[in-house]
């Protein structure tokens, strides 16, 4: 396993109460595997990603659990040590490529700087490597674009540069947080294919965070569904999509409109995800759940085996 997350809990102490944004979640990613993390806004997907790379904004902090990268614990490292690991061993792609690129430097300078920081190469070799990376992510005529600034590029091309930057030091883990959300569908398809190919070729582990189940279906092998800071279901993508086990996943899948299926109405989950200061006791989904029974209100379910997946739902408790 390249990444192992165990009982990770992230809390935000506020004046009134301690808010738990990520509540004791566990998962792991193997080399060459893409794990999709899906959920609606506020489910804790991005916070999980930030906690793994050590970029939580104070007062947010890891309150419990551990994160291991190739067996080494990285959740309690000092800032400087973590900075060396980010970039070298962990590449990160955020949603908005404009915020990940420095507008004052050419893309060539930014790539070279990253390569020189992390790899034992001289300047000429770094330039050579930067050019081959740009070629690999599909930027036409990289020699001509080398001295261009981020604003010279379109959104899709910028995201390609960000991917090149994230891959510059051959990281073992790639964390992509909504990498295609800001892009048009035709560009999105190109970027998805690119991430998938690069991860496969390099044997890197990819954590793909998105709200778009379609992107996960195209890219990931396994998917973790998050709700109110918890993983409610995790399993092979095909099984989670075609036979979801948790009532929330059932509702989520039913609420996505699909092309080619004549449907008059969408399945609808009533209500909304609870705020962090009002997560109900027991199962966090119980007030909205059509299949709730007594135990759901009292006792919080852990992940239970359900077919080839695991679901945090008492429906799957062995009698």
């Amino acid at each position: 396993m390249i990444l192992e997350v165990k009982d990770l809990t992230v809390q935000f102490p506020t004046r009134r109460a301690v808010l738990t944004a990520v509540d004791s979640i566990s998962f792991s990613i193997a080399p060459g595997e893409v794990l999709g993390v899906v959920g609606e806004s506020g489910a804790g997907k991005s916070i999980t990603g930030l906690a793994i790379i050590g970029l939580l904004e104070p007062p947010g902090r890891i309150a419990a659990g551990e994160v291991r990268l190739e067996g080494q614990r990285i959740d309690h490292l000092r800032h400087e040590e973590m900075r060396r690991i980010r970039g070298r061993k962990i590449g990160v792609i955020f949603q908005d490529p404009l915020t990940s690129l420095n507008p004052l430097y050419t893309i060539g300078q930014q790539l070279e700087e990253t390569i020189l920081t992390h790899l034992p190469l001289n300047k000429a070799q770094a330039r050579e490597r930067a050019l081959s990376l740009l070629r690999e992510v599909g930027i036409p005529a990289p020699e001509a674009r080398y001295g261009a600034y981020p604003h010279h590029f379109s959104g899709g091309m910028r995201q390609r540069v960000v991917i090149a930057l994230a891959l510059a030091a051959e990281p073992r883990l790639l964390i992509a947080d909504e990498p295609t959300t800001a892009l048009d569908v035709s560009i999105q398809a190109q970027i998805i294919a690119l991430i998938k190919r690069l991860a496969g070729e390099r044997g890197a582990a990819v954590m793909l965070i998105t709200h778009d189940m379609g992107v996960i279906a195209e890219t990931a092998q396994r998917v973790a569904v998050m709700y109110a800071g918890r993983v409610v279901e995790i399993g092979p993508v095909r099984d989670v999509i075609h036979s979801p086990r948790h009532p929330y996943t059932v509702g989520l899948m039913g609420s996505i409109p699909k092309i080619g299926i004549r449907q008059e109405r969408l399945l609808q989950i009533e209500g909304a995800m609870p705020r962090l200061n009002a997560i109900p006791p027991g199962c966090a989904f119980n007030p909205r759940c059509p299949r709730r029974f007594e135990r759901c209100v009292i006792e919080r379910p852990g992940l239970l085996a359900a077919g080839t997946s695991q679901a945090a739902c008492w429906l799957h408790a062995s009698p």
Binding site: Q188, I192, G214, A217, I241, K258, I259, R265, A272
Partner: protein, 302 residues
């Protein structure tokens, strides 16, 4: 008679540098044609959707119909009395200093008979007590319900919905789309639905217009468009949508990006990305005939 009719409507925007810069740097005026000779009709009670990628001009068409922009050329006929608009961002479209009651009552200022605000709140699934609250007390989905209630309060025949669910999570999107379908059935509303999301469009639309660089390249019934797309751009768009069914159907990889609208390609605007383009496509703009604008289809090549 259709409720709404657009005849060869175009809209230009002047994006030139300031006068002094133009004089000093000897730059010409730069005109961006956001909408180029768009024609379509919308009948009463139907939903026409316009789809396309960012910058294709679909929102400009919505604004032209709503009268927020004046057309540079062509004419727009509206054979109803009132239309209303629902915007994408429910955080920006509601006045944060007004109570919900005032927001919803505003369109009624122009009506003869005034109805009760609570009636509209109930219609969109909110409670009459919500009238005394402020927009910040609501979630994104609830705010979009308030926007819809405000639109209904104006008693419109036509509702222009510009990406009404794009800012919402899927489960909330499902609630809003179901609500809009219910309201259409109950009140006989006509929708012009603008969206980049093909799956959403396939759910709500009766007819669909596909836009590319300011033009409609294909206009067809939703069932035909999604089962038998004709224009190469429509085919490419449909191929690019992630396949949730994981059927593993073969698909052509998407190439290239939308060109800069300030310097659109000559001929058919799609020809640089089109696998069927030939010499004619590079010089001659295809005419919109039989629901599609494509030389290859007209010549029977595809």
């Amino acid at each position: 008679m259709p409720l709404l009719k657009l005849e060869s409507v175009s809209r230009d925007f002047d994006v030139s540098a300031p006068w002094l810069n133009r004089v000093i740097e000897r730059e010409p005026r730069r005109i961006l044609r956001a909408v180029d000779r768009v024609s379509f009709e919308v009948s009463k009670g139907e939903t026409l959707a316009l789809v396309g990628e960012s910058g294709c001009g679909k929102s400009t068409v919505a604004r032209l119909i709503a009268g927020l922009y004046a057309p540079s050329e062509g004419r727009i006929e509206f054979h109803g009395r009132r239309l209303q608009m629902i915007f994408q961002d429910p955080y920006a479209s509601l006045n944060p200093r007004w109570r919900v009651r005032k927001i919803i009552a505003e369109p009624m200022l122009f009506l003869q008979t005034k109805k009760d605000v609570s009636e509209f709140l109930l219609q969109v699934g909110l409670s009459p007590d919500d009238a005394e609250r402020y927009p910040h007390e609501f979630s994104g989905g609830q705010r979009q319900r308030i926007s819809i209630a405000r639109a209904l309060a104006g008693e419109p025949e036509l509702l222009i919905c510009d990406e009404p669910t794009s800012a919402l999570d899927v489960s909330v999107q499902a609630q809003i789309l179901n609500l809009m379908a219910d309201l259409q059935e109950r009140l006989g509303l006509t929708y012009l639905f603008i969206s980049h999301n093909l799956a959403v469009v396939s759910l709500v639309a009766d007819r669909v217009g596909v836009m590319y660089l300011g033009r409609i390249v294909e206009l067809a019934s939703a069932s035909n468009l999604f089962t038998r797309p004709r224009h190469p751009y429509t085919r490419m768009l449909l191929d690019a949508v992630p396949d949730l069914g994981m059927t593993g159907k073969p698909r052509t990889p998407v190439a290239g990006e939308v060109p800069n609208p300030l310097a659109p390609p000559a001929g058919c605007p799609f020809h640089p990305r089109c696998p069927h383009a030939n010499a004619r496509c590079q010089v001659e703009v295809p005419r919109f005939t039989n629901g599609v604008a494509c030389h290859a289809i007209e010549e029977g090549r595809i």
